[in-house]
């Protein structure tokens, strides 16, 4: 009888584990909300007023909700992209750059190729996917082949993407006129919008479908199973006959492609052309979206809606208060920080310091008894 048996956590029943999957994010949100309120107070604003502005600005009335849905769309793609990679143990935090490159590709194919809409739209989307994939290929390849830390490479690839796309938008393919942008995409490459109030477009539907498809892939397919095992224990996966390097590369590329789709939606739906520096950081928001969703594709829908709403509500902050939309970024990354810590659920249920939960006596006792 070894000691590790007893100190290891006993598995909770299914219901509790589902509950804990929801409780952790809610606690993180609550902590972020409280800290955010303190920060707002420190800056001389009334937190209730500010939060009310955020909520009413995003959810009160159909027009506001439609704007929220519009703001949610890119976050669905980037959040999904980050979630896919993290679930497989790969930290693709380069969604920002992959989205920019995807957007550029969609923008180029959108204006330079003349095709009927039925072909043009898929072609642009495919171009964006390929662009995102190509951009993800650099960190993916370096990680899988050479073990280079993908976070650092991803973070470096983001400014490179921004500068490179900027070069296209200001020099190579710049549209005539004062704005730094590519020429407008042809009408045949436009995603149809379905509202007068906002730019919400069929890209939203594509994103939602993608979330559902990935949820099914994760839960029901061999690939989804393999990704999960790789994420938890790559050596075990490899030993068990899973082609870890190949799968990891594929997941990373898929993740990049999905991030590229965020760019397609922006160019083909929201703006109608590639604009230089169009992203306020959707790729980075995706990290928070994925963390809050606990890397579950359906969870991504909820958390993208939440952060989309905050982003959309934050527009009025600038006008009505002395704050900026960066309040949302602060809230987002408090959420990430809190979720990264293994605090919440275990603390609540065990009333223990996490160190006592994670530090099992088994390590010293079992290894030396063997």
């Amino acid at each position: 009888m070894s000691v590790e048996t007893l100190s290891a956590p006993t598995t909770r029943p299914y219901l509790t584990s589902l509950l804990s999957a929801v409780v952790n994010p809610i606690m993180a949100l609550a902590i972020a909300g409280i800290l955010g309120a303190l920060l707002v107070m420190a800056l001389g604003e009334n937190p209730f007023e500010v939060y009310w502005l955020l909520i009413s600005g995003s959810l009160a009335g159909i027009p506001n909700i439609l704007v929220t849905l519009q703001m949610m769309t890119p976050l669905l793609f980037t959040g999904l992209a980050v979630a896919i990679s993290f679930r497989a143990g790969l930290a693709n935090i380069g969604a920002e750059g992959q989205m920019l490159v995807g957007a550029l590709c969609a923008g180029i194919v959108g204006f330079a190729v003349d095709l009927p809409a039925l072909l043009h739209v898929p072609l642009c989307i495919a171009a964006a996917f390929a662009g995102g994939m190509a951009w993800a290929a650099v960190p993916a390849f370096l990680r899988v082949k050479f073990g280079v830390n993908e976070l650092v490479v991803c973070l470096m690839m983001n400014p490179i993407a921004l500068l490179l796309t900027g070069y296209f938008a200001t020099h190579v393919l710049k549209a005539p006129g004062p704005t730094n942008k590519l020429p407008d995409v042809l009408p045949s490459a436009k995603l149809s919008t379905f509202s007068f109030y906002s730019q919400v477009n069929t890209g939203l539907i594509l994103a939602l479908v993608l979330c559902v498809v990935l949820a099914i892939i994760n839960a029901r397919t061999v690939r989804g199973f393999e990704w999960k095992i790789i994420g938890l224990s790559p050596k075990f996966a490899y030993y068990g006959g899973i082609d870890v390097p190949k799968r990891a590369l594929n997941v990373f590329l898929l993740s990049g492609g999905v991030a590229g789709l965020a760019g397609a939606e922006q160019v083909m739906g929201q703006f109608g052309a590639y604009y230089d520096n169009f992203s306020p950081g959707y790729g980075f928001d995706g990290i928070a979206v994925a963390m809050l969703a606990q890397f579950h594709p359906i969870g991504v829908i909820f958390s993208a809606f939440l952060f989309g709403a905050l982003n959309s509500g934050s527009g009025v902050l600038q006008m009505m208060t002395g704050l900026t939309k960066h309040l949302v970024q602060v809230l987002q990354f408090i959420v990430v920080l809190v979720l990264a810590a293994k605090i919440s659920w275990d603390w609540l249920t065990h009333f223990k310091k996490p160190s006592e939960i994670t530090m099992r006596p088994s390590r010293s006792s079992t290894t030396s008894e063997t």
Binding site: A8, T10, S233, Y239, G241, S364, S368
Partner: protein
């Protein structure tokens, strides 16, 4: 030995240690006299290390008293214990390989100059003097990474002596040593005892206990069941105190009927160890269907590298491996397809994903079977896992429980169930199958392996435990410095004979003529 309490350097009274609901130590009492070598023996999991960790301040005790030189002490960290003159020579050496001997020895008690500057010169002289005084010859400036295992252990010992330890706890010190090194260690231990140090010697090897100790305390299931003078006792008596089962029980099995087919054929295999040395050197062996071949050897003689090569987790540097007459594949997936079933020693790192559920752990490696188009038939996979849990008697398991929540023995059963339930698995490699496994489970694991043999499969068992090797093998191979030095029929071999081969004291059966490179070492 003296019974006068004041002469006892250490006295542990009524120690109880609980982890949650589990009591690891029940009411243990032990006394250690000055200048005494006191052996603490017991089976795996008897609580020897837990008790010593309580003494050393690594684990807080639940109840009881620890008296040091008659005074009650309470150590909350090893630092407190070290400061009071208690030192631990760990089984897994706690050394930094790219630092010098002197740096490793003085770490934590470094001689300094003004402004926190290191006084390396003094560290080196002091280390040198210390090593001379106790006859533990070492170059203070040598890199620890370049030392042999025996020398590294000297560094560990010197570390405790440098901190003026009077009580030294040796945790399974001989597990990684050759017989020659073991003899030197015992001489050192005696010399230390003569100079007034007290030594606690944790082991489960009875011959060693009798060879070196003054008194012997036997632990069983968290209790000290007896403390005896060495001269009053025989190995058989200690053995019967130690275990609940009869010792050295050989699994009841018929004579092997090896078939003609060679399932594992290795020719001139060379593999490099972590430091780029030839851990396996032109090694050849074969395992036929219908036999259990045991590979015996002192840890670190190339077993790990050999098995990793067969499993596809390490690239061989030369030679060839054939599984069921086909050359080894490029990945573990290929080797599985050839018929390899591998039960690794490293359950947490290789053989299981401890955070994943039991059904997931049992499904990995069988994915093709449950593949329906691109989809995974989760229903079938779970049904099979459920059946395996029952068939292999994995206690406390439910499908959705995390594998890490099982005991070591039951984790092992999950691995074994997964690997041995493969219909197409015709070569079974079991690495340390009983490591960290409770006694009841060991027997059932051995029985399963014998069943596999009787079903016509080839079974290759790698174990550091000679008892285990003798218990189940039909044929015993001995590995020494990366080569097979003996190939013996189990029924004719004696443990003494195998022990001599393990220590490199017999001439290898195959003399390759090549000079044996630096042996593989563990740190």
């Amino acid at each position: 030995m003296a019974s006068d309490t004041s002469k006892h350097v250490v006295e542990m009274r009524n120690i109880v240690k609980r982890f949650g609901n589990f009591t690891a130590i029940h009411n243990a009492n032990i006394t250690i006299g000055r200048g005494e070598i006191h052996a603490l023996v017991g089976e795996n999991g008897a609580g020897k290390s837990t008790l010593m960790n309580v003494l050393y301040g690594l684990l807080p005790r639940t109840e009881g008293d620890v008296l040091l030189r008659g005074k009650s002490v309470h150590f909350s960290t090893p630092n407190d214990a070290i400061a009071q003159g208690i030192g631990m020579v760990h089984q897994h050496f706690k050394l930094a390989p790219s630092f010098t001997v002197a740096e490793n020895i003085v770490l934590g008690a470094e001689p300094t100059l003004a402004m926190g500057r290191l006084n390396m010169r003094r560290a080196e002289t002091e280390t040198g003097e210390l090593s001379k005084r106790f006859g533990l010859d070492l170059d203070p400036r040598a890199m620890v990474g370049s030392l042999s295992v025996g020398l590294r252990q000297r560094v560990e010992i010197l570390k405790t002596l440098y901190r003026k330890a009077e009580v030294l706890v040796f945790d399974e010190p001989t597990a990684v040593l050759t017989p020659q090194e073991t003899r030197e260690l015992f001489a050192t231990m005696r010399q230390l005892a003569q100079s007034g140090h007290s030594i606690i010697f944790i082991t489960h090897k009875l011959r060693e206990v009798l060879a070196v100790s003054d008194r012997i305390s036997v632990m069983k299931q968290g209790e000290i069941v007896a403390t005896i003078d060495n001269k009053d006792v025989t190995a058989q008596e200690i053995a019967s105190l130690m275990v609940g089962r009869s010792v050295l029980l050989r699994v009841a099995k018929d004579e092997a009927k090896p078939g003609g087919r060679t399932m594992l054929n290795i020719r001139n295999l060379t593999a490099l160890g972590e430091r780029g040395e030839n851990a396996v050197h032109k090694l050849s062996l074969s395992v036929r269907s219908g036999e259990i071949v045991g590979l015996a050897g002192v840890q670190g003689n190339g077993q790990d590298e050999l098995v990793e090569c067969i499993a596809g987790l390490r690239q061989p540097a030369g030679g060839k491996i054939e599984i069921c007459d086909k050359p080894l594949g490029a990945t573990p997936a290929d080797n599985r397809a050839l018929g390899l079933a591998y039960v690794p020693a490293d359950r947490g790192g290789v053989g299981l994903s401890l955070q994943s559920s039991i059904w997931e752990n049992m499904t990995v490696g069988h994915l093709p079977k449950f593949k329906r188009g691109q989809f995974l038939s989760i229903g079938d996979a779970r049904a099979r896992a459920d059946e395996l849990i029952k068939r292999y008697d994995v206690r406390g398991a439910t499908l959705d429980k995390a594998a890490g929540s099982l005991s070591g023995g039951n984790q092992q059963k999950v691995q074994i169930a997964r690997e041995l339930s493969r219909e197409d698995g015709s070569l079974i490699i079991a690495e340390q199958p009983s490591q960290g496994v409770d006694i009841g489970a060991i027997e059932s694991i051995h029985r399963i392996l014998v069943e596999m043999r009787d079903a016509g499969k080839a079974v290759f068992v790698i174990s550091a435990d000679l008892d285990e090797i003798f218990s189940i093998s039909d044929r015993i191979l001995v590995i020494y410095r990366g080569q097979i030095v003996a190939d013996l029929k189990a029924s004719d071999a004696t443990q003494e004979e195998v022990g001599r081969y393990m220590g490199g004291l017999e001439t290898p059966i195959v003399d390759t003529g090549a000079s044996v490179k630096e042996p593989a070492r563990v740190c």
